[in-house]
C-alpha cells in the first residue's frame, strides 16, 4: 500500500489551474489558495483517460473554452476566450482578436491564460511590447518573450487565449454548490463528442484506464503523465475537503452535517490519492516504467479497482453535500 507523500499544496501539476490561480492574484480575489482554486473550480475532481492507450493528451481532451469558463464563473469571474483545441493554427484575423483580448486585459492589470507558449501545457501571458511585437509569457518550461506571430504556432499549432473580463462577489456556499454540481456532472456524464470516442471522464475514466491495462496497450509515457496529473488532483480533493470540514462556518445542523460529510469524503479522496500515488511511483515521469508487464499491470489493476471504489463512495458523499446545499439555508448561517 502506498502512502501519501504530498505536503506542499502551493503548486499543482495541472497547469491550467496553476495558471488560473496565478491570474486570480491580480484581481480583487487575490489571496485565494491553490487548494481553494482546485476545489471551487472542481478541477480537483476531474479525470479524463483514453481507453486505448492512456495517451498523453488525455488530460487536455476537453472543450477548454467551455470548461474553463464554467470553472471561472463559479469563482465569480466573467471571461472571454479566443481559439480552441483544434490542431489548426490561427488565421491572422483570429490572432489579431486574441492579441486584442490579451492587451485589453493586461492594460487592466490582469494576465491572460494561454496554451502551448513554450510547451503544450497551459501558461500565463503577463506582458506585451508593441515595439518589439512580443508577449512576455511563462509556462512550466520557460519564462520569456514570445513573438506575436508565434502565438498559436508552437509545438501543436493551435491557439487558445482566455482573459478575465469582470469579477463579481460570490459567497462560499454558492461556490461550493457550483463546484459540487460540476464535480458530480463530470463524474457521471460523458462530455466528449464522437471523435473523442476513446476518452472517458469521471467514473468511466477508471474503467477506461482498467481496459487499457487489461489489454496491455498502455503507452508508458502517456500513462506516466496522466497518472501524475490525476494523482495531483485527488491530493488536492482530499486537502480541499479536509480544510472545508475544519473551516466551514455556520452552526446549523445542516452545517454540522456538511462538515462531517466533507471529512468523510476527504478520506475517500485520500484513499484514491494513495492508490494513484503508488501508481505514480511505479510509472514515474518521463519514462513511465513498464505498465504492460504482467506484474506491473496486475498491481495497477488492483490499485485502479480500489481507487474507483473509493472515488465512487467519494462522489456519493459529494452528492449528499449537494443535497444539503440545495435546501434553503438555515437562518443562522453567517456565510
Amino acid at each position: 500500500m502506498g502512502k501519501r507523500t504530498r505536503d506542499d499544496f502551493t503548486w499543482s501539476k495541472n497547469t491550467d489551474t496553476s495558471a488560473i490561480h496565478s491570474m486570480i492574484q491580480y484581481t480583487d480575489k487575490a489571496g485565494m489558495s491553490v487548494v481553494d482554486v482546485m476545489g471551487y473550480t472542481a478541477h480537483a475532481f476531474r479525470i479524463i483517460i483514453d481507453r486505448e492507450a492512456v495517451e498523453v493528451g488525455s488530460y487536455s481532451a476537453f472543450d477548454w473554452p467551455l470548461h474553463h469558463a464554467e470553472q471561472l464563473q463559479n469563482l465569480g469571474f466573467a471571461v472571454q476566450t479566443a481559439g480552441k483545441p483544434n490542431h489548426i493554427p490561427p488565421t491572422s484575423e483570429e490572432l489579431e482578436e486574441a492579441l486584442g483580448y490579451i492587451q485589453t486585459s493586461l492594460d487592466k492589470g490582469v494576465p491572460a491564460l494561454s496554451w502551448d507558449l513554450f510547451i503544450p501545457e497551459w501558461g500565463v501571458i503577463y506582458g506585451y511590447d508593441d515595439e518589439n511585437k512580443v508577449l512576455r509569457c511563462r509556462d512550466v518550461r520557460k519564462d520569456g518573450d514570445l513573438p506575436y506571430e508565434k502565438l498559436g504556432r508552437g509545438e501543436v499549432t493551435e491557439m487558445y487565449v482566455l482573459t478575465i473580463t469582470g469579477s463579481y462577489p460570490v459567497d462560499k456556499r454558492s461556490m461550493l454548490k457550483g463546484a459540487l454540481k460540476l464535480a458530480v456532472k463530470h463524474a457521471y456524464r460523458q462530455s466528449f463528442e464522437s471523435e473523442h470516442a476513446s476518452h472517458r471522464n469521471g467514473l468511466a475514466a477508471y474503467d477506461a484506464w482498467i481496459e487499457a491495462f487489461t489489454k496491455r496497450t498502455v503507452d508508458p509515457f502517456g500513462n506516466g503523465v496522466n497518472t501524475g496529473k490525476v494523482w495531483d488532483t485527488r491530493e488536492f480533493a482530499a486537502q480541499f475537503l479536509l480544510e472545508l470540514s475544519q473551516n466551514w462556518e455556520g452552526s446549523s445542523p445542516q452545517d454540522d452535517r456538511l462538515r462531517t460529510l466533507a471529512l468523510e469524503a476527504s478520506e475517500q479522496y485520500a484513499a484514491v490519492a494513495e492508490r494513484l500515488g503508488e501508481m505514480r511511483d511505479m510509472f514515474p515521469f518521463p519514462h513511465g516504467g513498464e505498465p504492460n508487464s504482467d506484474a506491473q499491470a496486475g498491481r495497477a489493476l488492483t490499485l485502479l479497482g480500489e481507487a474507483k471504489a473509493a472515488e465512487t463512495s467519494g462522489i456519493t458523499l459529494l452528492e449528499r453535500m449537494l443535497e444539503i446545499l440545495e435546501q434553503p439555508p438555515a437562518s443562522e448561517v453567517i456565510e
Partner: protein, 279 residues
C-alpha cells in the same frame, strides 16, 4: 507502390462527377511515383504511412486517404447533412491535412487528428453559409485599404491557394465568367505581393504550381529536380507565405493601435506560477 497508387486513385474516383473539378484539383498530390522508385512495403502500418506522407510522399498520403475517406465522409455528412457539401468538406480537409501533416505530433494518432480537421472544416463551411459561402470573402479584396495585403477575409492562405490550384477545367469555366476571372486576377495579385519572402527557386516553383498550374512532375522536369523536392518547396513556400501574411497583419495591427493612442507596452509583476521543467 502500384497498389497504393491505385487505391488512392480509387479513393478519389469515388467522388461524384459534378465534383470532378475539385477532384482533379488535388491531382498534384497523386500520380507521380516517388523519385527513388518507391518500394513501399505493404500493407504498411498507419504510423509508417503518416511518417512517409510527412516527407511529402503523395502515395503514402493517398493510401491514408483511401483508408480513412469513408469515415471522414461519414463525419462530414453527419455534420453538414448535405452530400455535396460533405464532399467539399472532405476535399478541403484532405488538402489541409496534407499541408499540415508536419504539425501532427503523434503519428499514431492520424485518425482522430483527421477527424478534428474534418469537423473544423465542416463547421467553417456551415458558418460561412454553405457551399457558396466561401465565395464571399474574396470580394473583400476589392477596395482593400492596403495595396499590399487584402482585407481581413482572405486570411486563410490555404484556402486561397487551394482555389488557385484548381484544375484547368475550373479555369476554363472561370474564363467564361468575367467576374470570376477578375476575382482570380485579384487573388493572384494579392499573392504576388507576398512572394518576396521566398527564395528565387521557391518562387519559381510556387508560380509554376499555383499560377501556371503545372503538375509537380512537369515542374520537376523543367527545373531538373526530383518531384519530392518540388513538393517540399511548395510546402515550405506556403509556410513562409503564411508567416509573411501574419507578419504583415501584425504590423498593421500594431500601427493601428499606435494611431488609436493605445499603450505601447505593459509588463505586470511575474506570476506565482513557476517554470519547473527540467529538459
Amino acid at each position: 507502390m502500384q497498389a497504393a497508387n491505385n487505391g488512392m486513385q480509387e479513393a478519389y474516383i469515388k467522388l461524384s462527377a459534378d465534383n470532378r473539378a475539385k477532384e482533379t484539383s488535388i491531382s498534384g498530390f497523386r500520380g507521380e511515383p516517388a523519385p527513388d522508385g518507391g518500394g513501399c512495403p505493404e500493407p504498411a502500418s498507419e504510423k509508417e504511412l503518416v511518417e512517409k506522407a510527412r516527407t511529402g510522399d503523395p502515395d503514402a498520403f493517398g493510401e491514408l486517404v483511401r483508408r480513412h475517406r469513408a469515415k471522414a465522409f461519414g463525419i462530414a455528412r453527419s455534420l453538414t447533412k448535405d452530400h455535396h457539401l460533405a464532399e467539399d468538406v472532405v476535399q478541403d480537409a484532405l488538402v489541409r491535412a496534407f499541408l499540415h501533416l508536419g504539425t501532427l505530433i503523434d503519428t499514431a494518432r492520424f485518425s482522430p487528428w483527421l477527424a478534428k480537421i474534418i469537423r473544423n472544416e465542416a463547421y467553417m463551411k456551415i458558418r460561412r453559409g454553405g457551399p457558396h459561402g466561401k465565395e464571399r470573402p474574396f470580394t473583400c479584396l476589392e477596395g482593400a485599404a492596403s495595396p499590399n495585403i487584402g482585407a481581413d477575409d482572405w486570411h486563410d492562405i490555404d484556402r486561397v491557394l487551394f482555389r488557385l490550384s484548381r484544375s484547368a477545367l475550373e479555369s476554363a469555366r472561370q474564363a467564361h465568367d468575367p467576374s470570376a476571372a477578375l476575382l482570380r486576377k485579384e487573388l493572384i495579385n494579392g499573392i504576388r505581393s507576398l512572394l518576396h519572402c521566398l527564395s528565387p527557386r521557391e518562387k519559381r516553383i510556387f508560380e509554376a504550381y499555383f499560377f501556371e498550374q503545372l503538375p509537380p512532375k512537369d515542374i520537376a522536369i523543367l527545373l531538373n529536380t526530383a518531384v519530392a523536392n518540388v513538393y517540399n518547396s511548395i510546402s515550405r513556400a506556403r509556410g513562409k507565405m503564411q508567416q509573411e501574411l501574419i507578419r504583415a497583419h501584425i504590423s498593421m495591427y500594431v500601427k493601428h493601435r499606435k494611431k488609436m493612442g493605445k499603450p505601447a507596452k505593459k509588463l505586470l509583476a511575474p506570476p506565482l506560477f513557476k517554470p519547473v521543467w527540467k529538459d
